[in-house]
């Protein structure tokens, strides 16, 4: 059987027992997404874009079981003053949330608007995902657009007084959740969105964000210590003139994580920074896949990813900067680095550039290696115990990625969390 036939068969099998929620304003977008998915087929190992990560856990009919772990720590961002929205196994919890009302922002649930035929999100839902299918297919994102059960529809008209914190709680060993958030940021408005906790035993999450002129989106995600879960996320962001998008993700364990970020710099003078720090142990597999398209003048983009891997963990980075013919004066930077703490761990990277404009500067670097023995010796000779010295050097290694978080308070919280995890052995 050819690859296409294999895919078609597998995709049909996967979807037989699923019902497409075709109601209200999102119906046409969902049915389009369904057609897209059928056209592309679910990903398989032989797909070039899944060369380094097995998609099976995301595409199987059965949810890989993931035992819920005891975690007595308070949610990481509780230390900050923010507006909290909580989802338990993908279902919005009124009880634990601060409610759907905050100054400057319209907050609605995807599920509760399903009966309405006219909605502002109609022009956005699934549209950035659809654009993000070229030049590389992302069928699991189309899958999400078609079948997402819940999500926040967020229209930012004015900068809200505090960050919005989305916290996910998981209570089931077999929860299978698709969340689809839509964020629209009006001209000149800015917002900070925090995400923490673990969505489900298997999660497929998509965020579509449209940032109008001079708008700003700061996104910080902390994927927690829930080891057995499988998580797939997509962020599709479209940047208009002088707008800014910053995203940072901290991942501490998880058997399988794939975070895809797809950005289109559409307006001149935009800025997009995507960064991530991850620390993985054992059967940890973490994949950061980033695709930034420069289609306007003087855009600036940065990708900074640092991975610390031990006891057989795997880190993957697939990053691409695409500079279209008219995107002159683009400044693109990309660095991916791994610190391998033992011989069993591995780092797989594909840092790509595709450039069609001549007056641009794009650099990409990728390195991999062990901890610096000299630095370790220096610390040990000054009486620092081996483990502590390793942790210190690990933190120093991750620092460049963490520095991408501009807000000092948030950055402090992340640092403290990371340090605590390293001390405990995650």
């Amino acid at each position: 059987m050819s690859l296409a036939q294999t895919k078609e068969k597998a995709t049909k099998e996967r979807l037989t027992s699923m019902e497409l929620p075709l109601k209200g304003w999102s119906a046409s977008a969902r049915s389009d997404a369904y057609d897209r998915l059928m056209g592309m087929g679910l990903p398989v190992r032989r797909d070039e874009y899944w060369k380094y990560t097995r998609p099976d856990a995301f595409t199987s009919a059965d949810v890989p079981r993931a035992a819920v772990q005891e975690d007595n720590d308070a949610p990481i961002f509780d230390a900050l003053d923010c507006h909290k929205l909580v989802f338990v196994d993908g279902i919005y919890s009124e009880e634990f949330s601060d409610g759907l009302s905050i100054d400057g922002v319209t907050l609605e649930l995807l599920s509760s608007t399903s009966d309405v035929d006219i909605h502002w999100a109609k022009s956005l839902y699934g549209s950035l995902e659809k654009k993000g299918q070229k030049p590389v297919a992302r069928p699991l994102a189309a899958f999400n657009s078609a079948f997402a059960q819940e999500g926040i529809l967020m229209h930012v008209k004015k900068t809200p007084p505090k960050p919005i914190s989305l916290h996910y709680v998981r209570e089931s060993d077999v929860s299978d959740v698709m969340l689809h958030h839509v964020v629209k940021i009006d001209e000149g408005a800015s917002i900070t969105i925090l995400e923490s906790g673990d969505v489900a035993a298997r999660c497929n999450m998509a965020i579509e964000a449209e940032i109008e002129k001079d708008g700003q989106l700061n996104h910080v995600r902390a994927q927690g210590r829930d080891h057995e879960r499988n998580a797939l996320t997509h962020i599709f962001a479209q940047l208009e003139e002088q707008s800014q998008f910053k995203s940072f993700c901290l991942t501490m364990n998880g058997v399988l994580t794939r975070n895809e970020t797809v950005i289109e710099m559409r307006g001149d003078d935009g800025m997009a920074h995507v960064a991530g720090a991850s620390v993985g142990d054992g059967d940890f597999h973490h994949d950061d896949t980033v695709f930034i398209t420069h289609d306007a003048l003087r855009g600036e983009s940065r990708q900074v990813f640092k991975k610390v891997l031990r006891n057989g963990a795997t880190g993957v980075f697939q990053g691409k900067i695409l500079v279209k013919p008219d995107a002159q004066k683009t400044d693109g930077y990309q660095i991916s680095q791994s610190l391998l703490l033992d011989d069993d761990s591995q780092f797989l990277a594909k840092p790509e550039l595709e450039i069609y404009a001549d007056d641009v500067a794009c650099s990409h670097g990728s390195t991999s290696g062990a901890i610096d023995e000299e630095a370790l010796f220096y610390l040990r000779s000054r009486g620092v115990p081996a483990e502590e010295a390793t942790n210190l050097l690990t933190l120093a290694f991750l620092a460049e990625a963490l520095e991408e978080v501009e807000n000092q308070e948030i950055s402090d919280v992340l640092n403290a969390h990371l340090e605590g995890c390293l001390k405990r052995g995650c």
């Binding site: 791994s338 391998l340 780092f347 001549d358 390195t367 991999s368």
Partner: protein, 507 residues
């Protein structure tokens, strides 16, 4: 034919570089053809053609079978489409797979008997097939030794080897240098043992096709402990129209031996594209060293993309023995489409692989080229330096793999690839794959400029340059370094390119 002279070039790009690239993309100097009576196999490819080629070369049965099994596999394979190149579908049944000058039907016994027209062709290309000191005084090369140097040449014209020079002298040193068809007849044990051992028959679509239909090529065997007394070279010339060239090169460097091997290629200017699918295999035993240099100057097609050579080549070196070393140097200026990844399998402990490349794409040329460094042995080292320059509406892609296997402890890779765009209609792309599976190895892909040789930097700084200036000088000087890695015989080509700097590169 020239690159549009009114092309706007961004500030910061060195004018000398622009001129040099224009010069390269200017009139193709080797576009003439030789009028000579040819003998063709029927058009197309099928088991009969495979048998016919085998038959023309007087091959033993085992070789014919080897080819036929390759053909069977090829029929099952699909043409790869992952490279960033775009060309009309190739009709494999509408071209010749075998063409030889009629005068070669009866194999000439010595160079004196070779058709003067053929000799004149090579003479005109600057490759005299005479056993003489050649290139004694290449213009502008003061460092050329006054007494000249010897280079043995195997000249391949369409599907056959026309002649090989200095065979007797090489034989005295124990070196075997002949056409592959001769090697199959005269040295079957060596060929049987090594052919297909580096590039397996079903390695990829074009390598498999080559295994089925290769018509000739060069064979080199350097016995243990021998330093080859002269440089060896093969010159490939495609002359016939509508004909593909499929040559096979096999180089075996036995324990402790050394050889420097050069390869050159040209073709006449024709309206229809022609296929060239070669395979080069290099085997290196313990402590052996091979330097393989290519100046690829196939006809690139005209400024509208008409004609040109489709260059789909598989080149691989297998460093089987400990401490063996291979160095690929390539200057790619020709071909309409290039698909070529000279690779190193670093199997022996402490073995080393190096890849230096300058790829210049003008007009509508498309180049997708790079290397694979597969580290299997401990303490293996590799270095990749690739410079891609695009002008006109050309596309230039670096595609490479660096793989550190779990057992390749304490290995090292350094990769640097720069691209320069001249004009705003062309493209430059980089697609590196990096796979690190142990922690004692270090891999750096274009890390930082601080990795520039400290000694060179120190030298520059001592002479009053600030650090930035010094780094720029050292980095941009690298094109020249690649050229200096070329053997003298390519001095002419190199001279044309020395003006190129990567100042103003995009990434």
């Amino acid at each position: 034919m020239s690159v549009a002279t009114d092309m706007e070039v961004k500030e910061g790009v060195d004018q000398e570089t622009v001129d040099a690239v224009r010069e390269v993309g200017g009139t193709y100097k080797y576009g003439w053809d030789t009028e000579i009576e040819m003998e063709y196999a029927p058009k197309g490819v099928n088991p009969e053609i495979v048998r016919l080629i085998s038959d023309k070369n007087d091959e033993p049965e085992w070789m014919t079978e080897w080819r036929l099994s390759a053909f069977k596999r090829w029929e099952q394979m699909a043409e790869p489409n992952w490279a960033m190149v775009d060309y009309p579908e190739i009709d494999f049944q509408n071209q010749y797979f075998y063409a030889r000058p009629k005068s070669m039907v009866e194999k000439p016994k010595s160079l004196d008997e070779v058709d003067p027209k053929l000799l004149a062709t090579y003479e005109k290309l600057g490759i005299p097939l005479k056993e003489q000191m050649i290139l004694a005084g290449v213009e502008g090369r003061e460092d050329a030794p006054a007494d000249g140097r010897k280079v043995a040449v195997d000249a391949v014209f369409d599907s056959v080897s026309v002649g090989t020079t200095f065979q007797a002298e090489l034989k005295k040193a124990g070196v075997i240098f002949c056409s592959i068809s001769e090697a199959i007849r005269e040295h079957p044990d060596l060929v049987k043992k090594y052919l297909g051992s580096v590039v397996p028959v079903s390695d990829n679509f074009y390598a498999t096709l080559n295994s089925a239909v290769f018509s000739d090529g060069s064979f080199v065997y350097i016995p243990p402990g021998v330093r080859c007394p002269m440089e060896l070279s093969t010159y490939f010339r495609i002359n016939a129209e509508n004909t593909g060239q499929f040559e096979r090169t096999l180089i075996i460097a036995d324990k402790g031996s050394y050889v420097s091997y050069l390869e050159g290629c040209t073709a006449p200017q024709r309206d229809t594209a022609q296929l060239h699918a070669a395979v080069v295999e290099i085997v290196l035993e313990e402590d052996a060293e091979v330097k393989y240099s290519t100046v690829q100057n196939w006809f690139p097609g005209d400024e509208n993309g008409k004609g040109g050579i489709y260059n789909f080549v598989t080149k691989r070196a297998d460093c089987r023995g400990d401490r063996s070393k291979v160095m690929w140097t390539q200057v790619e200026t020709g071909s309409a489409v290039t698909w070529k990844y000279p690779s190193c399998i670093l199997r022996g402990n402490d073995s080393q692989g190096e890849f230096y490349s300058i790829a210049i794409a003008n007009n509508r040329q498309q180049a997708d080229t790079g290397t694979k460094m597969v580290h299997l042995g401990t303490n293996t080292k590799s270095r990749i330096v690739s410079k891609g320059i695009s002008a006109g509406v050309a596309q230039n892609t670096y595609r490479g793999l660096v793989s550190m296997h779990p057992k390749a402890k304490s290995s090292r890779n350094y990769t640097q690839c720069d691209s320069l765009l001249i004009g705003d209609k062309c493209g430059a792309h980089t697609v590196p794959y990096i796979e690190v599976k142990n922690n004692s190895s270090r891999v750096e892909h274009e890390a930082t400029t601080s990795k520039v040789d400290d000694e060179q930097l120190f030298y520059c700084r001592q002479r009053g340059m600030d650090e930035e200036e010094a780094v720029a000088l050292v980095v941009n000087g690298f094109c020249k370094d690649v050229l200096q890695a070329l053997p003298m015989e390519f001095a002419m080509e190199a001279q044309q390119l020395v003006a190129i700097s990567l100042e103003g590169s995009v990434g």
